[in-house]
Symmetry: none
Subunit: 247 residues, 2 copies
């Protein structure tokens, strides 16, 4: 996985809500982002409500860099994306979020990269949008497109980690389970078939059609070795219970 | 684009932060979701801080449905996903978020669908996770995986709007078969549990962990009504065979 995204700088322009700033710090920590830059905040980013929302993102808040203009905030950055919630963004073309984020992090050079988020109430001006090479917009309901600032950051960071990341974590977790072999499965089904014939659930002429239904169910689940053992255990114990009655 | 997702019910289990509940209402409105269900909230969802965060999501907050247990909250739902932030989720398999969300909305039947989110501090219990057919986890930094509740909802809803409609053929094939309801499945598992306790395969202290393994196997297969009937038939016949020996 491309981990360049962790070097991304999250830039907030004139944020006005301490709760939002704290929430942004938390979600940056959630996604391993290491730097927040604040352009002329309209509130105190160290207010108690910001600190409460930041939780383990508190270091990001404490170490946030302050700038008085957006140009200053991104002047050392080589690749810059701006986010835009408005629909009337004039002549500025929108890029697909996925493609823009891919472009942002798929560099092997030691480039600094930034994503800019605008004011809670009115986003970024057209002039500010033009500071970035690419402008993206998160698609939402046209009836109420304006996302909360920290939600916008959360969604963009989530998308950023998913650029080229094909659910590797989950696949690793799934790999821990050993899938049962066809031979194991067939052996178990054979035992089950004999038992079901014995108790009169199956008749010779219905056996194979019913057993194939059970097989297809277990195959659909990608049954694991440990689960087959469980089923075999049930079969063994049931037989034992029945034999006990005979004696 | 498939717009089924707008009918999804967002279920919050014991939410404790009014700011979070308000934020969830707002982001639901952002993505066109129409219903929030609250299970035994640990705070007043109509507190001023919740209402302030909800903004245009205020109607969703005002019309939220209240339930005392999670089972009650989802009993009318046919497809259910639970979200899980923990890494130690025991034997419960994780699904890829994209695939699970695709499965959730790609139905042409008038099914009710729900996504469950757990408590801010400790998510959902394993027992609660098992109420859903599929469990997903948002991949975050392993150093600080715990997302804010409303950020988790934002990310899942964003992903949900992005699931495309490819692979509908697969669903059309599945449509011919009626999937078993959660109620049917639970009833069958309850009968099986009683039987397995009786024959001594289960002990009281191992029963729930072993039964949850069986449940998770059957859920992974998206078990159908007709297959549940087959399993119930086997159970019934085995009991009959045993009773016959007693006489």
């Amino acid at each position: 996985m491309n981990e360049n995204y962790k070097n991304v700088k999250i830039v907030l322009v004139e944020p006005a809500g301490p709760i939002n700033i704290g929430s942004v710090a938390r979600v940056c920590a959630n996604f391993g982002v290491k730097e927040i830059r604040l352009v002329a905040p309209k509130c105190d980013p160290n207010e108690i409500s910001a600190r409460k929302m930041a939780l383990k993102g508190i270091n990001l808040l404490d170490n946030a860099l302050y700038f008085s203009t957006l140009i200053d905030a991104v002047q050392d950055c080589d690749r810059i994306i701006a986010t835009c919630g408005r629909i009337d963004h004039g002549q500025i073309p929108l890029h697909s979020t996925k493609n823009a984020l891919k472009w942002l992090v798929e560099t092997e050079l030691k480039e600094k990269v930034a994503i800019i988020f605008g004011r809670e109430d009115r986003g970024l001006t057209n002039e500010e949008l033009l500071i970035a090479q690419k402008v993206v917009s998160i698609s939402t309901s046209p009836k109420y497109p304006s996302l909360n600032l920290s939600h916008a950051v959360a969604i963009i960071l989530y998308e950023l980690t998913n650029v080229d990341n094909k659910d590797t974590n989950i696949n690793n977790k799934l790999k821990d389970h050993k899938r049962a072999s066809q031979k194991e499965l067939n052996n178990c089904l054979q035992q089950a078939k004999e038992f079901l014939l014995e108790i009169g659930f199956l008749y010779k002429h219905t056996a194979s059609s019913r057993m194939s239904k059970i097989k297809s169910l277990l195959q659909r689940a990608d049954i694991r070795s440990e689960e087959l053992s469980l089923l075999r255990g049930i079969l063994r114990q049931t037989k034992w219970f029945i034999d006990k009655k005979d004696n």
